[in-house]
């Protein structure tokens, strides 16, 4: 636990030397996680403020500008909360199928065609165009693979569909880790940006917390671009990792947010004042009910958080037996004196 408790992000302060430390222009990696949960997008698009297409184009512009900053800069894109795929890597595109000699050419031709249909690509710098086309094509095909009937998913026997934003986050962190460990990109700085549209109900508490701790240890900031309802856990994620959590009040100007507030290079983090929403909801979620807890109980063995006292007086997670006397004490209702002063004497009698 020590290693986790160690605060990975310490402000640079005291010591004048730090301030003028040379900020070198090493390349950095930007990983974007795009939440594509169809139901949430339906809500957003029904409200008329936001269109999926606009978000994608703003995102593409952002990725392109990141690449433009430094020739060594890299980008990657994941989707999350897709009903069929869960979390999936969109770009860069590693596919074994591409390796089959004749298929590969055909595939890329098909991709070009499809992308041409979607993207107005004239006048785009070639490097950008390759990335943009590949992203657009993959995104399109991923969405097309979504089941057209909810029933076809549910019928397979599973009655629930898992949220996978935390999955995408873990995948992104693993991707960063792999890249940083490789010889070619060792020491590559990285950051993660979540473009999130769903609320907390889609986030499994334990997994997201584990991802947060992992990011903290790797010193990777998690930025959150929040469209739709606020998310407590993502707020905590950005707070713990020195990231930016920003709720988009003005979706039309999304590109402005993406290219300023959410565009802060890891090297600059300790120096600039982050445009993050500072009122953070630090509440945790109950392990039994999955609801946020204001005041609750914590298992002394495994630290699991409970909002109610379990009936069998055992911890639901680690099965430790709770002390019966303690439980009865916790369950006892408080008793207080009545308010009227005149009752005081009477009350004393009752007490006895």
């Amino acid at each position: 636990m020590d290693a986790i408790a160690d605060r990975a992000f310490v402000d640079v302060q005291s010591g004048k030397g730090n301030l003028h430390r040379v900020v070198d222009e090493t390349p950095s990696l930007l990983i974007v996680i795009l939440d594509v949960s169809p139901l949430e997008w339906k809500k957003l698009m029904d409200s008329g403020t936001l269109d999926f297409k606009n978000v994608v184009s703003a995102l593409l512009v952002m990725l392109n500008s990141h690449m433009a900053l430094n020739s060594g800069n890299k980008v990657a894109l994941y989707i999350a909360n897709s009903y069929l795929h869960g979390a999936e890597l969109v770009y860069p595109w590693f596919d074994d199928r591409d390796d089959s000699s004749d298929g590969s050419e055909q595939n890329s031709k098909r991709r070009r065609m499809n992308a041409d249909n979607i993207l107005k690509a004239s006048g785009i710098y070639r490097q950008f165009r390759i990335v943009d086309e590949s992203i657009v094509d993959k995104l399109d095909s991923l969405i097309k693979e979504e089941p057209s009937k909810l029933k076809s998913m549910v019928n397979k026997g599973n009655t629930h569909i898992k949220g996978t934003l935390s999955g995408a986050l873990s995948q992104a962190l693993s991707y960063i880790n792999r890249l940083q460990k490789s010889d070619e990109h060792s020491g590559l700085k990285a950051r993660v940006l979540c473009i999130s549209v769903s609320g907390d109900s889609a986030l499994p508490y334990v997994s997201i917390m584990n991802s947060i701790f992992a990011a903290q240890k790797m010193k990777i900031s998690v930025d959150v671009c929040k469209l739709g309802p606020d998310s407590t856990f993502l707020q905590q994620a950005s707070d713990a990792t020195n990231g930016v959590y920003i709720h988009i009040n003005n979706p039309d100007g999304l590109i402005q947010y993406l290219s300023t507030a959410l565009f802060i290079d890891p090297l600059l983090r300790p120096i600039v004042v982050l445009p993050t929403n500072t009122s953070i909801d630090f509440r945790a979620s109950c392990f039994i009910t999955n609801k946020l807890v204001d005041v609750g109980y914590v298992c002394s063995v495994c630290l699991c958080i409970l909002s109610v006292i379990p009936d069998d007086e055992r911890c639901p997670t680690c099965h430790s037996k709770f002390d019966h006397n303690l439980i009865t004490r916790l369950k006892r209702k408080p008793k207080v004196l009545p308010l009227k002063m005149g009752n005081k004497r009477k009350k004393r009698v009752v007490d006895k």
Binding site: Y205, I246, G253, N277
Partner: protein
């Protein structure tokens, strides 16, 4: 007996000599009558019993010095018939003011030294003069007993742990008014809350502190912590001043540390300071080779040093000030005498270096005879133990071709570390060195591994399984769907639209992100900058703080607010006072709900106290509404919005109390 100060003085109108003797433990003031036929020829006052010292002011004709003793201690008066009422005071009269001042000053110094020595737990040699003059005021003043029954700072480090534990006990902390006052004085924020809640609104001070015991505790600890030993000489850095002089500043504490860590310096000081002035001693010291060597720097033979002090270079480096060093002195003196004789006989050009090397040899000889080597590490004592026989290279410090300077530096550092360590472990009984070495030599790897026992826990993770991103109603809807009943649900309707998103008539045009939406972009820009501005005010980064300090030093902590200042201030006051009462309410409430008559002896008083808290909450609510009624219209609305949460929490607390009232009828 040698006396540091000795002068004529009258005691009970008899002439005599007063002298201060520092060589005995404790140091004493002795007055001896010249006329031995007098009834009380000798007065001895041990100096550690002195509590005060009074002298007639310079304006007065009389020159008298009164020494006040600790009550209950008998001065050793040969004549016991001395008047009883004057038992704790001894009066001396002097002929000249100079004499009196001399005695007075000497006494002051000794007492101050004594006290500071006690404070820093220097029990070994109280006779060591520290710095002369400046030692008197600060420390002696600080140690006069404070009015509180519990000491704020421990004056004595003996039993420091116990004392600290005692001090940190919650009960004692709550009683320690001096500490509380001091904390309040240092923490203006707390002072404000204290004035609001306790002085103005009548909260019991003990209640107030009971929620802040942690503050008191950390404050007490903070004021009680002492610094561990550190390598002093390395912290001293000569600074070149503008007129090409080298300045070194040393504080009293540093000098004390130097003496403690380098007994050799103390010895040098002892030997030389009456002869040369203190300032001169230190300036000589910092330019000497001795200083450089002790610091662990390389000393070149041709470096300019200091003749007086550099002879200490050749003293036993392990000299720890304990053993009688007269022998060494004698040895050196003999050596010098002989040397000077030789010098006269021989040619004049004899260099000093030779002289020193000669004396060095002698000292080394002396060392070799005297030093005891523990059997455990005595390699000479056990030749078979010689690692070189087995083909290993000798230790770095043992190689014959090793650079002697390097070895010296290593040794100096080791010696210093050893000394610092031994200073720390004072409280430990001097553990047997042999055992310590044995412990070190033992090969722990060969021991049986201790088996660590674990408690097995079966872990089931539930929360991850149960979270689903699709609402259950929708799933139910989907489940009931059949071919006969092809009612579309929300998802099915939308997904077909979503899938074609990229294929509607308009192509994805990246220029759309800024084309013709300048206004929205400007709005976003304003949004971002306002957040940055807000955060900058709370930013803890030094440089940004500084720049803000310059910009707005007054309202740095104020968030942007349209309210007039006085209103804001008054609302804040109401808020913080109410919160204070709320805190106490919940404290008692929770304590009552988790205890009962049988488990808590104070249950009844707490019940009554809780009710008091309830009434205070009622008053708080009144205050809030009274405060709000001071404003009207727009302002009123915004103020109500600000205080809404407070009102809610007050009401909530009161509601909880109301719910918990037991009906007396049952």
């Amino acid at each position: 007996m040698p006396a540091s100060v000795s002068t004529t003085a009258f005691h009970r109108k008899k002439a005599g000599t007063i002298s201060i003797i520092e060589d005995v433990e404790p140091p004493m003031v002795v007055w001896k009558c010249i006329d031995s036929s007098v009834s009380h020829p000798l007065v001895e006052i041990p100096l550690d019993n002195i509590v005060n010292l009074q002298a007639t002011p310079a304006s007065s004709d009389k020159m008298m010095l009164k020494i006040g003793l600790k009550a209950g201690t008998l001065k050793k008066d040969i004549d016991n018939s001395a008047p009883a009422r004057n038992k704790n005071n001894t009066l001396f009269t002097f002929k000249t003011r100079a004499n009196m001042d001399e005695v007075k000053l000497a006494l002051q110094q000794i007492i101050a030294r004594k006290k500071s020595a006690k404070q820093i737990n220097e029990s070994s040699r109280p006779t060591t003069p520290f710095t002369g003059d400046e030692s008197t005021p600060a420390h002696s003043k600080e140690s006069t007993p404070s009015s509180s029954s519990i000491p704020l700072i421990s004056r004595d480090n003996l039993g420091n742990d116990e004392l600290l534990a005692n001090l940190l006990d919650s009960k004692n902390l709550l009683k320690n008014l001096t500490l509380q006052q001091k904390l309040l004085r240092e923490n203006p924020e707390l002072m404000k809350t204290f004035t609001d809640a306790v002085i103005k609104s009548g909260l019991d001070p003990e209640e107030f502190w009971s929620t802040r015991v942690h503050l008191l505790r950390s404050f007490a600890i903070q004021h009680n912590q002492k610094r561990g030993p550190y390598n002093v000489l390395s912290t001293i850095k000569p600074v070149a001043s503008s007129d090409n002089e080298v300045n070194v500043s040393v504080t009293r504490e540093k000098i004390h540390e130097i003496f403690k860590q380098y007994p050799i310096v103390r010895k040098a000081y002892d030997d030389n300071v009456p002869k040369i002035s203190e300032g001169e001693f230190w300036s000589r010291f910092f330019s000497s080779k001795l200083f450089r060597k002790l610091r662990g720097e390389k000393v070149n033979l041709y470096d300019r040093g200091d003749i007086t002090l550099d002879k200490y270079l050749y003293y036993d480096p392990d000299y720890d000030g304990e053993e009688e060093d007269e022998d060494v002195d004698k040895l050196l003196e003999d050596q010098e005498a002989k040397e000077s004789l030789d010098k006269n006989n021989k040619k004049r050009g004899k260099s000093q270096v030779d002289q020193i090397t000669a004396s060095k040899k002698k000292v080394k000889l002396f060392r070799g005879e005297d030093e005891k080597v523990s059997k455990c590490i005595d390699i000479l004592g056990n030749e078979e133990d010689d690692p070189q026989l087995k083909g290993n290279t000798p230790d770095v410090t043992m190689k014959s071709n090793q650079d002697p300077d390097l070895v010296n530096v290593l040794r100096t550092m080791n010696r210093l570390s050893r000394r610092m360590m031994s200073n720390i472990k004072e409280d430990k009984p001097n553990a047997d060195l042999d055992n310590e070495f044995k412990d070190e030599l033992e090969i722990k790897d060969l021991d049986d591994k201790e088996k660590v026992e674990y408690n097995e826990l079966t872990y089931t993770q539930r929360s991850n399984i149960s979270s689903s991103i699709v609402p259950s109603e929708l799933i139910k809807q989907a489940m009931t769907q059949s071919d006969l009943n092809p009612a579309l649900n929300d998802y099915d309707q939308f997904i077909s639209l979503f899938k074609e998103k990229f294929h509607d008539e308009e192509k994805l045009d990246l220029t759309s992100v800024y084309y013709q939406i300048k206004k929205s972009i400007y709005d976003s820009y304003k949004d971002v900058t306002s957040i940055v501005r807000k955060n900058a005010k709370q930013s803890s980064q030094s440089w940004s703080k500084k720049s803000i300090d310059v910009l707005s030093s007054n309202d740095i902590k104020d968030a942007k607010s349209d309210m007039p200042k006085n209103r804001l201030e008054s609302l804040r006051l109401t808020q913080s006072t109410s919160i204070e009462f709320l805190r106490h309410f919940w404290l008692h409430f929770n304590s009552i709900s988790t205890s009962s008559m049988s488990t808590n002896p104070n249950f009844k008083t707490e019940l009554i106290q809780l009710r008091k808290c309830y009434f205070s909450l009622e008053k708080c609510l009144e205050r809030v509404s009274a405060n709000l009624s001071n404003s009207e219209g727009e302002e009123r609305i915004s103020e109500e919005r600000v205080l809404k949460q407070l009102i809610e929490s007050l009401k909530q607390a009161m509601k909880r109390y109301d719910d918990a009232i037991i009906d007396p009828k049952h």
